[in-house]
Structure formats: structure tokens, C-alpha cells
């Protein structure tokens, strides 16, 4: 059985239902990312696993033991807080040793374990510095070290990178990944940044309004989003989502998006079976669209470049197709104001039901 099992977790704050019904499992050495916008219930879920909030209902098992009534310190978890919450009045050594000290660990064992942890995290040189003067990267390592020195069964991280400048965040993300690989503890990681989740998670659970929308491996979630929300949330720039209608005319079946239409005769049966009505939303990632100045493909759609966001190695082209905006990512020789032809790759097209917001394929 898995290291951590969460079953039908629910949490009410007064009238507000922060977490509605959340279930997942985390196995040995695995990292699960809880991803979602602020207010989706991800931090509350984490705090319930840590034992800092009491679930309104539902069960939490750690190592197959029900821990609902076990206090935080006895659950065998390590928790890294949003702003790390290292103790500012102590040295690095005392921070690392805190958990052992309050457990009255013998001195020689304590020193040995602190030294070992410090070595593992590259903190040996700053061991006797005050925690106040540390750099962010060191603070992150102290916060993690302080938790893992107690050999937790599960490590919980609550948006550890959220208040860090972009460039530093990138570096610390890489460092976190490396530490994670080295210590190999089952981890639950909370973040609102989809890129962070993609990089750090073995699996990702995308949350919205207290519910998990989809839980899967990063590439799976990227390639096959189950709901409209996941499709929109994962990936940068966001997926193009276009309202359309399934129309049948003269033996042909196509998706009519007002300004253009796409022939989908091959998939007509599947769509009709799964959809609740003709109102659909099609989605296509900007990098799955291609465009050219000349009309190469007869099915290509005409658009105009409104402006270009340059990303360095590639660019995002904001097009206007009829009345609607369309994003294309790539590297092309076009300029603002150019008229271009956009081509759809049907294989990369996502289709969602407008009413249920669930993926049709």
C-alpha cells in the first residue's frame, strides 16, 4: 500500500467549504504536486495531512495507519512552510537540531546526525552562522534539513518558492529537484505555478474549488487534460479555447467556430456519443499550431498578427482570426500587421463539452 493515502477529505471553515472531496495516494519515493490557483484548497489539504487542521470528514493514512487523531509531531511528517519559517534567533546548527533537542536525543548522536544532514545539504560551512544572515538558498536547505533530520515518512512543502524573484526561483527550483532526488522521500508539494509543478512533480493533482480535477503524470496532464480548467491552467502560454458548434451538412460533419470551421467527419461518431449537446469548446495549444505567409494547406485559416511576445528562443504570436484572438507559439519570420495562414493539426486538437467542461477526446 502507498505511503500516504487521503480518502474523501473535506474541510469546512464556517460556511465556506475549502476542501470538498479530495482523495489521492502517494507512493514511496514519489512526489505529488497539488496545483491550483489561490483559494482552491490545496494548502488546506496539505495542512490537514500535516495535522495542523482537523478534517471535517475523511481519512488520512500514513504507512497504512489512520492518523486523523494523531498530533502533527507524531505523524512522521516533515513540513516546509511558505516562507520557510526557520527560527531566526538560532544558529543553523540549532535549527537543524531543534527536532532532536526537543526529543532529548543524546548529545553525541545529535551532533552526528546534524553533521550528516548538513553534509547532505551542503550546509557544513554555515553550520554555526546565525539563521538571520542566510541567503535564500541556504534558508531553503535549512528548512528542508530541519525536517528530514527526523527521518519523516513524508515531506510536505507549502509553496516554498512563491515569494522569490523569478530568476532566483528558477535556480532554487533546480536545487530543490536535486535535493529531492537525493533524499528520495515521498513528497507532497503545493504550488500555484504550473511550470514548477511540471518540473518537480512525478504526478500532478490539479485542484479547483476544493476538488481535484485531474491527477496524472506531468506529460500526461499536458497532453490529455481531462477538463477545460486543466487544459487552460497547464501550459504557458495557455491553450487556445474556442467555442464552436458541431454541424452536419451535406454528408459532412464539422466544427463551426463562426469565423472558421474544421472538418471532423472521422471523429463524428465519438463526438456525438460523448457530447451532451452540439455546443463544444475546442482547444489547441499555441505550439501545436503552425502558420505561414502563403496558403500552403487548403484548410488553413486566415488571420492577422496583432502583436508578438518574444520569448528569446521562440515567440508568441497574438493573431486575430475574424473576431477572436488566437495564440501561436513558434519562431517565424512575420511581423505585426502581417496576414498569415494558420494550420490545425487535428491530432493535437482537444475537444470539450461546453456544459460539463469535460474532455471529449
Amino acid at each position: 500500500m502507498a505511503k500516504l493515502v487521503v480518502r474523501n477529505l473535506r474541510k469546512l471553515f464556517g460556511d465556506f467549504e475549502a476542501v470538498k472531496d479530495v482523495s489521492f495516494e502517494v507512493s514511496e519515493r514519489e512526489t505529488l504536486c497539488l496545483l491550483g490557483p489561490s483559494g482552491c484548497g490545496k494548502t488546506t489539504t496539505l495542512r490537514m495531512i500535516a495535522g495542523l487542521e482537523t478534517p471535517t470528514s475523511g481519512y488520512i493514512y500514513i504507512d497504512e495507519v489512520l492518523v486523523n487523531d494523531v498530533p502533527p509531531q507524531k505523524r512522521g511528517i516533515g513540513l516546509v512552510f511558505q516562507d520557510y519559517a526557520i527560527f531566526p534567533h538560532m544558529s543553523v546548527f540549532d535549527n537543524l537540531a531543534f527536532g532532536l533537542k526537543v526529543r532529548r536525543t543524546p548529545k553525541h548522536e545529535l551532533t552526528a546526525r546534524v553533521d550528516e544532514t548538513a553534509r547532505l545539504l551542503g550546509l557544513s560551512d554555515v553550520l554555526h552562522k546565525s539563521a538571520k544572515g542566510l541567503g535564500l538558498s541556504e534558508i531553503q536547505r535549512v528548512a528542508i534539513g530541519r525536517s528530514i533530520i527526523l527521518d519523516p515518512k513524508i515531506l510536505l512543502l507549502d509553496e516554498p518558492l512563491s515569494n522569490v524573484a523569478a530568476k532566483v526561483r528558477e535556480r532554487m527550483r533546480g536545487e530543490l529537484k536535486r535535493i529531492q532526488k537525493e533524499i528520495g522521500i515521498a513528497t507532497v508539494f503545493v504550488t500555484h505555478d504550473q511550470l514548477e509543478a511540471m518540473v518537480l512533480g512525478d504526478r500532478i493533482a490539479v485542484m479547483k474549488d476544493g476538488l481535484i480535477e485531474q491527477i496524472a503524470k506531468p506529460d500526461e496532464i499536458y497532453a490529455h487534460p481531462h477538463t477545460l480548467f486543466v487544459a487552460d491552467f497547464i501550459g504557458s502560454p495557455s491553450m487556445n479555447l474556442i467555442e464552436c458548434e458541431l454541424l452536419e451538412k451535406e454528408e459532412r460533419v464539422f466544427l463551426d467556430a463562426k469565423d472558421f470551421a474544421i472538418d471532423v467527419i472521422k471523429f463524428a461518431e465519438t463526438i456525438k456519443k460523448k457530447a451532451t449537446g452540439p455546443e463544444l469548446i475546442m482547444g489547441i495549444r499555441p505550439e501545436d499550431l503552425s502558420m505561414s505567409k502563403k496558403k500552403i494547406d487548403p484548410k488553413a485559416i486566415r488571420g492577422e498578427v496583432q502583436f508578438i511576445e518574444s520569448l528569446g528562443s521562440s515567440s508568441i504570436y497574438h493573431l486575430r482570426v475574424g473576431q477572436r484572438p488566437l495564440l501561436v507559439k513558434g519562431l517565424l519570420e512575420v511581423e505585426t500587421g502581417d496576414k498569415v495562414w494558420v494550420m490545425f493539426d487535428l491530432k493535437k486538437l482537444h475537444l470539450f463539452d461546453k456544459k460539463t467542461e469535460v474532455a471529449i477526446w
Binding site: A50, G51, L52, P72, Q73, K74, I77, G78, L79, F81, Q82, D83, A85, I86, F87, P88, H89, M90, F98, G99, K101, V102, R103, R146, S147, L150
Partner: protein, 305 residues
């Protein structure tokens, strides 16, 4: 925009000048009310002027150091000083410890916490002079301390004349101070403890610390700078003790047994009309206090995180 308004607008962009303008009223009031008297104090202390001497004070001749010589040989002055220091050194630590004790009592949630807190804070709001008055009334021969508390504790008709015994009289003044200011210590320590970021406490909890350990290893060390500031401020405040002494023991009785430094200077100036000597004693005290304050200002200037 009218020219005058524009001028102000332009001025407000010159931080140095505008800042000084804003400080001007403060400077005027302080000069008028504090700096000038301070100058007078220094001048007087070097004269032997007396209100009944027949000359205006500014015409008094400089006499040199006789006042200071006298002060250093003045046993009553020295005792007043020592007595006041003893007062501070007794009262402030007790207030702190009691305040800390009450804080422990108020940690966590329990029924009626709000009402209890409000009641505990009550003494702080009573005017000092009324505190003196009520302790004066409590410790009368036929007051409740003799008639209710001592009777309950020891039985019989124990009749202690509190204000006639030098030691006991001093004790009642201390009690009045402790009664009034323990709540402040409680308030400071308590709000310090609850202002320690929740995440630090949660972090310690997850790491296995009990609430006692969290208090001792996290909360108290974190508010140490705050406690030091509180002790210093309270100490300097307690050093001024006058109102209670004035009303409870008639500014120092029996004899001079409860005469604090403020009471002594007051008597020198007002009752004995010995203004130049009072000024000299004041000056000595100010210099001494300025030295102490210099040491104290460091923790005060640094705002605790």
C-alpha cells in the same frame, strides 16, 4: 494653482527644508518649555540664590560648587537615591515575573478569556494618585487589610499600623506600584507572545516541541528584545515614583523612611524653598540618568522584529 499653494507644493519636494518646517512647532515648544528651564537649572545650581534673598534670581552671583559639595555629603540625598534604586530593583522584576505568570495563565483558549483580560488590565487605567489613595485606605488601622485579610490568615485582632513602621510603609508603596503596573507587563509579554508568527510555532509543533518547549525555546527568545525594552522603560518610569509616596506617607514619612528622590527634590524646592540646591541635586540626577539612558537607548532605538 495659486502662487502660495504652488510654493508649498514645491517646498514639499525639498525633503530637508520641508521636514524642518514640519518640526518647527515641536522645536519651539520644546525650547520654550524644556530647554530654557534646563538652562535655568544649570545656572541656579551654581548659585546660592534664595527666593527671600531680596535679589532677582538672574542677578544672583555665581557661587561655584558649594551646592555640589553639599550634595555629595548629603546623607539624606544619598539615602533617597539608594531607596529609590531599591524600589526600582524590587518592584520591576516582581512586576515582570507576575506579568509573565499571568501570561502563562492566559495562553490558549478558555471560557471568559476576554472578560478576564479586561479585568486584569483595569489597574493600568486608574490615575496614579487614586491608586495611592486606595492603598492608603486599604492599609489604614481599621482598613480591610488588617480587619479582613490578616484576620483570616492569623486570626484574632492583629492590628498593624502600616504607615508608622518604616519598612512596612515602604512595602505598601511598593505594593501599590506592583498592583498598578503588573498588568502592563502582562500586556506586553502577552501581546509579544501572540505576535510571534504562527508559522514558527507550527513549525516547532510539527518538529515535535510541546507547548512548554515552544514557549521556552521559540516564543520567549524571540521576544527577548521586547522584554528588555519593557524592563528599561518600566525601570525608568518606576524611578520617578512620587504620587503614591505623596499621598500615602505624606511624601516620605515616617520621618524620611519612604522619601524617594522625587519626593526629596520636591520638598527641597517647594517646602524648604531651597531652589538652588534643588537645582543642583536635579542636575546631578539628570547627568546620572543620562548616562543610564545612553546605555538604554541602544535596545530602544532598534525596533524589535
Amino acid at each position: 494653482m495659486s502662487t502660495a499653494l504652488r510654493k508649498i507644493a514645491e517646498w514639499s519636494r525639498r525633503p530637508k527644508k520641508f521636514g524642518r518646517l514640519l518640526m518647527l512647532p515641536l522645536t519651539i515648544v520644546q525650547n520654550f518649555v524644556l530647554i530654557i528651564p534646563f538652562g535655568i537649572m544649570i545656572f541656579l545650581s551654581f548659585t546660592t540664590w534664595h527666593p527671600l534673598a531680596g535679589v532677582e534670581w538672574w542677578q544672583a552671583p555665581i557661587a561655584g560648587l558649594p551646592n555640589f559639595v553639599k550634595a555629595f555629603a548629603d546623607a539624606r540625598f544619598q539615602w533617597a537615591l539608594i531607596r529609590t534604586v531599591i524600589f526600582v530593583a524590587t518592584v520591576v522584576p516582581i512586576e515582570f515575573l507576575l506579568g509573565l505568570g499571568i501570561t502563562l495563565l492566559f495562553l490558549g483558549e478558555f471560557r471568559g478569556k476576554k472578560i478576564f483580560t479586561s479585568i486584569v488590565l483595569y489597574p493600568m487605567m486608574v490615575p496614579l494618585i487614586v491608586v495611592g489613595l486606595s492603598f492608603f485606605l486599604m492599609f489604614q488601622d481599621f482598613g480591610p487589610v488588617n480587619l479582613i485579610i490578616l484576620k483570616a490568615l492569623f486570626g484574632g485582632e492583629t492590628m498593624i499600623s502600616w504607615f508608622l513602621d518604616p519598612t512596612l510603609a515602604f512595602l505598601t508603596i511598593m505594593l501599590a506600584d506592583i498592583w498598578q503596573w503588573t498588568p502592563l507587563m502582562f500586556l506586553i509579554v502577552y501581546s509579544g507572545l501572540v505576535s510571534v508568527p504562527q508559522r514558527l510555532i507550527e513549525a516547532a509543533k510539527v518538529l515535535g516541541a510541546s507547548s512548554m518547549q515552544i514557549l521556552r525555546r521559540i516564543q520567549l527568545p524571540l521576544i527577548k528584545p521586547l522584554i528588555i525594552v519593557a524592563l528599561i522603560i518600566r525601570g525608568l518610569e518606576a524611578f520617578k515614583v512620587f504620587d503614591t509616596v505623596f499621598i500615602m506617607t505624606g511624601a516620605g514619612g515616617p520621618g524620611t523612611a519612604t522619601e524617594t528622590i522625587s519626593a526629596y527634590i520636591y520638598k527641597l524646592a517647594i517646602l524648604y524653598n531651597n531652589l538652588s540646591y534643588a537645582a543642583a541635586v536635579s542636575l546631578i540626577l539628570l547627568v546620572a540618568l543620562a548616562l543610564v539612558t545612553r546605555l538604554a537607548i541602544k535596545p530602544l532605538a532598534v525596533k524589535p522584529e
